[in-house]
Protein backbone atom coordinates (compact mmCIF):
# COMPACT_ATOMS: atom_id res chain seq x y z
CA UNK A 1 0.00 0.00 0.00
CA UNK A 2 1.22 3.45 -0.84
CA UNK A 3 1.24 5.62 2.28
CA UNK A 4 3.04 8.92 2.70
CA UNK A 5 3.46 10.72 5.99
CA UNK A 6 4.65 13.99 7.41
CA UNK A 7 4.61 15.62 10.84
CA UNK A 8 3.15 19.08 11.21
CA UNK A 9 2.80 20.78 14.61
CA UNK A 10 3.10 17.47 16.46
CA UNK A 11 0.44 15.86 14.27
CA UNK A 12 1.44 12.83 12.21
CA UNK A 13 -0.41 13.01 8.92
CA UNK A 14 -0.82 9.80 6.95
CA UNK A 15 -1.75 10.34 3.31
CA UNK A 16 -3.41 7.26 1.83
CA UNK A 17 -2.09 7.43 -1.73
CA UNK A 18 -4.48 4.83 -3.09
CA UNK A 19 -7.63 5.06 -5.16
CA UNK A 20 -9.21 2.22 -3.16
CA UNK A 21 -9.12 1.45 0.55
CA UNK A 22 -10.54 -2.06 0.68
CA UNK A 23 -10.03 -5.59 1.99
CA UNK A 24 -6.92 -5.90 -0.17
CA UNK A 25 -4.92 -3.10 1.43
CA UNK A 26 -6.69 -1.89 4.58
CA UNK A 27 -4.72 -4.15 6.94
CA UNK A 28 -1.57 -2.22 6.06
CA UNK A 29 -3.16 1.08 7.03
CA UNK A 30 -4.44 -0.49 10.25
CA UNK A 31 -0.92 -1.69 11.14
CA UNK A 32 0.69 1.65 10.25
CA UNK A 33 -1.70 3.56 12.52
CA UNK A 34 -1.31 1.01 15.30
CA UNK A 35 2.48 1.36 15.15
CA UNK A 36 2.29 5.17 15.48
CA UNK A 37 0.30 4.94 18.71
CA UNK A 38 2.51 2.16 20.05
CA UNK A 39 5.52 4.37 19.33
CA UNK A 40 4.00 7.04 21.55
CA UNK A 41 2.50 9.40 18.96
CA UNK A 42 -0.63 11.08 20.27
CA UNK A 43 -2.09 12.94 17.32
CA UNK A 44 -2.71 11.11 14.06
CA UNK A 45 -4.53 12.46 11.04
CA UNK A 46 -5.51 10.17 8.18
CA UNK A 47 -5.92 12.16 4.98
CA UNK A 48 -8.13 10.42 2.40
CA UNK A 49 -7.92 12.97 -0.43
CA UNK A 50 -6.85 10.38 -3.01
CA UNK A 51 -9.28 7.67 -1.89
CA UNK A 52 -12.19 7.39 -4.28
CA UNK A 53 -13.55 4.12 -2.89
CA UNK A 54 -13.82 2.64 0.59
CA UNK A 55 -15.42 -0.67 1.61
CA UNK A 56 -16.39 -2.11 4.99
CA UNK A 57 -12.82 -3.36 5.58
CA UNK A 58 -11.45 0.14 4.95
CA UNK A 59 -13.97 1.58 7.40
CA UNK A 60 -13.04 -1.19 9.84
CA UNK A 61 -9.33 -0.33 9.62
CA UNK A 62 -10.12 3.30 10.52
CA UNK A 63 -12.39 2.21 13.39
CA UNK A 64 -9.53 0.04 14.65
CA UNK A 65 -7.22 3.07 14.47
CA UNK A 66 -9.74 5.17 16.36
CA UNK A 67 -9.98 2.56 19.14
CA UNK A 68 -6.19 2.36 19.22
CA UNK A 69 -6.05 6.11 19.70
CA UNK A 70 -8.44 5.94 22.65
CA UNK A 71 -6.52 3.14 24.33
CA UNK A 72 -3.29 5.16 24.05
CA UNK A 73 -4.90 8.44 25.18
CA UNK A 74 -4.40 9.79 21.68
CA UNK A 75 -6.51 11.24 18.90
CA UNK A 76 -7.26 10.05 15.39
CA UNK A 77 -9.03 12.38 12.99
CA UNK A 78 -9.81 12.30 9.29
CA UNK A 79 -9.58 14.85 6.52
CA UNK A 80 -10.29 15.48 2.84
CA UNK A 81 -12.97 12.85 2.24
CA UNK A 82 -14.41 12.61 -1.25
CA UNK A 83 -18.20 12.87 -1.27
CA UNK A 84 -18.93 9.20 -1.96
CA UNK A 85 -16.43 8.09 0.67
CA UNK A 86 -18.09 10.44 3.14
CA UNK A 87 -21.48 8.95 2.30
CA UNK A 88 -20.20 5.54 3.41
CA UNK A 89 -19.39 7.01 6.83
CA UNK A 90 -22.92 8.41 6.98
CA UNK A 91 -24.53 5.13 5.90
CA UNK A 92 -22.71 3.26 8.68
CA UNK A 93 -23.22 6.17 11.18
CA UNK A 94 -19.45 6.46 11.56
CA UNK A 95 -19.62 10.20 10.82
CA UNK A 96 -20.85 10.50 14.42
CA UNK A 97 -17.70 8.77 15.68
CA UNK A 98 -14.93 10.43 13.69
CA UNK A 99 -14.01 14.07 13.59
CA UNK A 100 -13.89 14.75 9.86
CA UNK A 101 -12.38 17.92 8.39
CA UNK A 102 -12.63 19.28 4.86
CA UNK A 103 -8.87 19.89 4.57
CA UNK A 104 -5.60 18.75 6.09
CA UNK A 105 -4.88 22.27 7.32
CA UNK A 106 -8.20 22.60 9.15
CA UNK A 107 -7.68 19.23 10.81
CA UNK A 108 -4.15 20.09 11.95
CA UNK A 109 -5.43 23.38 13.34
CA UNK A 110 -8.15 21.54 15.25
CA UNK A 111 -5.59 19.32 16.98
CA UNK A 112 -4.01 22.47 18.43
CA UNK A 113 -7.20 23.92 19.83
Amino acid sequence: MNLASETRNDVVIIYVKEERLDAHNSTELKSAVQKLFEDGKKNVLVDLKDVRFIDSSGLGALVSGFKNAISHQGNLKLSSLQSQVKSMFELTRLHRVFEIFPSTAEAVENFQS
Binding site: R20, D22, A23, H24, F53, D55, S56, S57, L59, G60, A61, V63, S64, F66, K67, Q84, S87, M88, L91, T92, R93, V97
Partner: protein
Protein backbone atom coordinates in the same frame (compact mmCIF):
# COMPACT_ATOMS: atom_id res chain seq x y z
CA UNK B 1 -28.28 -1.33 -24.24
CA UNK B 2 -31.90 -1.24 -23.11
CA UNK B 3 -34.16 -4.02 -24.28
CA UNK B 4 -31.31 -6.48 -24.38
CA UNK B 5 -30.17 -8.86 -21.76
CA UNK B 6 -26.59 -8.59 -20.72
CA UNK B 7 -24.92 -11.37 -18.80
CA UNK B 8 -21.38 -11.15 -17.55
CA UNK B 9 -20.02 -14.42 -16.21
CA UNK B 10 -16.60 -14.12 -14.57
CA UNK B 11 -14.32 -16.46 -12.71
CA UNK B 12 -11.38 -15.03 -10.81
CA UNK B 13 -8.94 -16.54 -8.32
CA UNK B 14 -10.21 -16.03 -4.76
CA UNK B 15 -7.71 -13.32 -3.97
CA UNK B 16 -8.39 -9.80 -2.79
CA UNK B 17 -6.14 -8.34 -5.52
CA UNK B 18 -9.01 -8.93 -7.96
CA UNK B 19 -11.53 -6.88 -5.97
CA UNK B 20 -10.73 -3.76 -7.96
CA UNK B 21 -11.23 -5.54 -11.29
CA UNK B 22 -14.63 -6.91 -10.26
CA UNK B 23 -15.71 -3.59 -8.78
CA UNK B 24 -14.83 -1.75 -11.98
CA UNK B 25 -17.06 -4.04 -14.01
CA UNK B 26 -19.96 -2.97 -11.79
CA UNK B 27 -19.04 0.68 -12.32
CA UNK B 28 -18.92 0.26 -16.09
CA UNK B 29 -22.34 -1.39 -16.15
CA UNK B 30 -23.84 1.52 -14.17
CA UNK B 31 -22.36 4.06 -16.60
CA UNK B 32 -23.80 2.20 -19.60
CA UNK B 33 -27.41 2.47 -18.42
CA UNK B 34 -28.95 4.85 -20.94
CA UNK B 35 -32.33 5.30 -19.33
CA UNK B 36 -31.32 5.29 -15.68
CA UNK B 37 -32.79 8.42 -14.16
CA UNK B 38 -30.76 8.45 -10.94
CA UNK B 39 -27.17 9.55 -10.42
CA UNK B 40 -25.03 7.10 -12.39
CA UNK B 41 -21.88 7.92 -10.44
CA UNK B 42 -23.59 7.05 -7.16
CA UNK B 43 -24.97 3.84 -8.67
CA UNK B 44 -21.48 3.04 -10.02
CA UNK B 45 -20.05 3.36 -6.51
CA UNK B 46 -22.83 1.24 -5.03
CA UNK B 47 -22.36 -1.57 -7.56
CA UNK B 48 -18.61 -1.45 -7.04
CA UNK B 49 -19.21 -1.71 -3.30
CA UNK B 50 -21.70 -4.59 -3.32
CA UNK B 51 -19.49 -6.56 -5.73
CA UNK B 52 -16.45 -5.89 -3.54
CA UNK B 53 -18.27 -6.89 -0.34
CA UNK B 54 -19.79 -10.01 -1.92
CA UNK B 55 -16.46 -11.14 -3.33
CA UNK B 56 -14.69 -10.62 0.02
CA UNK B 57 -17.46 -12.68 1.55
CA UNK B 58 -16.94 -15.46 -1.00
CA UNK B 59 -13.16 -15.40 -0.47
CA UNK B 60 -13.73 -15.68 3.27
CA UNK B 61 -16.08 -18.62 2.93
CA UNK B 62 -14.21 -20.39 0.16
CA UNK B 63 -11.01 -20.21 2.18
CA UNK B 64 -8.39 -17.58 1.25
CA UNK B 65 -5.60 -20.10 1.85
CA UNK B 66 -6.68 -22.11 -1.15
CA UNK B 67 -5.47 -19.94 -4.03
CA UNK B 68 -6.35 -22.46 -6.69
CA UNK B 69 -10.02 -21.87 -6.01
CA UNK B 70 -12.08 -19.52 -8.09
CA UNK B 71 -14.88 -17.14 -7.24
CA UNK B 72 -17.61 -17.05 -9.86
CA UNK B 73 -19.61 -13.89 -10.30
CA UNK B 74 -22.57 -13.60 -12.67
CA UNK B 75 -24.07 -10.17 -13.35
CA UNK B 76 -27.34 -10.14 -15.28
CA UNK B 77 -29.08 -7.03 -16.55
CA UNK B 78 -32.51 -7.54 -18.08
CA UNK B 79 -34.60 -4.42 -18.73
CA UNK B 80 -34.42 -2.59 -15.40
CA UNK B 81 -33.59 -5.62 -13.30
CA UNK B 82 -30.03 -6.13 -12.14
CA UNK B 83 -29.10 -9.42 -10.51
CA UNK B 84 -25.66 -10.22 -9.12
CA UNK B 85 -24.90 -13.78 -8.10
CA UNK B 86 -21.68 -14.68 -6.33
CA UNK B 87 -20.83 -18.35 -5.87
CA UNK B 88 -18.48 -20.06 -3.47
CA UNK B 89 -17.93 -23.69 -2.58
CA UNK B 90 -16.93 -23.16 1.02
CA UNK B 91 -18.73 -23.93 4.27
CA UNK B 92 -21.45 -21.38 3.74
CA UNK B 93 -23.17 -19.33 6.41
CA UNK B 94 -26.63 -18.35 7.55
CA UNK B 95 -27.23 -14.85 6.27
CA UNK B 96 -30.27 -14.44 8.52
CA UNK B 97 -28.15 -14.98 11.59
CA UNK B 98 -25.96 -11.96 10.77
CA UNK B 99 -27.22 -9.08 12.88
CA UNK B 100 -27.35 -5.48 11.76
CA UNK B 101 -24.40 -3.54 13.14
CA UNK B 102 -24.87 -2.12 16.61
CA UNK B 103 -24.27 1.55 15.89
CA UNK B 104 -23.55 2.27 19.54
CA UNK B 105 -20.66 -0.20 19.62
CA UNK B 106 -17.48 0.39 17.68
CA UNK B 107 -16.72 -2.89 15.99
CA UNK B 108 -13.94 -3.29 13.42
CA UNK B 109 -16.04 -5.72 11.40
CA UNK B 110 -19.61 -6.60 10.53
CA UNK B 111 -20.67 -3.88 8.11
CA UNK B 112 -20.34 -5.75 4.79
CA UNK B 113 -23.68 -7.57 4.69
CA UNK B 114 -25.37 -4.48 6.15
CA UNK B 115 -24.07 -2.37 3.26
CA UNK B 116 -25.22 -4.94 0.70
CA UNK B 117 -28.67 -5.11 2.29
CA UNK B 118 -28.92 -1.33 2.42
CA UNK B 119 -27.93 -0.77 -1.20
CA UNK B 120 -29.77 -3.65 -2.87
CA UNK B 121 -33.51 -4.41 -2.97
CA UNK B 122 -33.22 -8.07 -2.05
CA UNK B 123 -30.44 -10.29 -0.77
CA UNK B 124 -30.51 -14.06 -0.34
CA UNK B 125 -27.91 -16.70 0.39
CA UNK B 126 -28.59 -20.24 -0.68
CA UNK B 127 -26.66 -23.35 0.16
CA UNK B 128 -26.72 -26.60 -1.68
CA UNK B 129 -24.43 -29.59 -1.67
CA UNK B 130 -22.16 -28.32 -4.45
CA UNK B 131 -21.91 -24.59 -3.89
CA UNK B 132 -23.33 -21.56 -2.18
CA UNK B 133 -24.81 -18.52 -3.87
CA UNK B 134 -25.25 -14.98 -2.65
CA UNK B 135 -27.94 -13.39 -4.80
CA UNK B 136 -28.50 -9.64 -4.82
CA UNK B 137 -31.17 -7.88 -6.84
CA UNK B 138 -31.86 -4.27 -7.62
CA UNK B 139 -34.47 -2.56 -9.75
CA UNK B 140 -32.90 0.22 -11.77
CA UNK B 141 -36.10 1.68 -13.25
Amino acid sequence: MEGNTIEVDIKVPNKTRYLSLIGKIGEDIARELERYSGDKEILAYHLNLVLTEAMVNAIKHAGPKEPEKLVRIVITLHHDDLTIRVYDDGQGFDINSIPAPNFEELEDRGRGIFLIRTLMDSVAYRKNCKENMLEMKKKLG
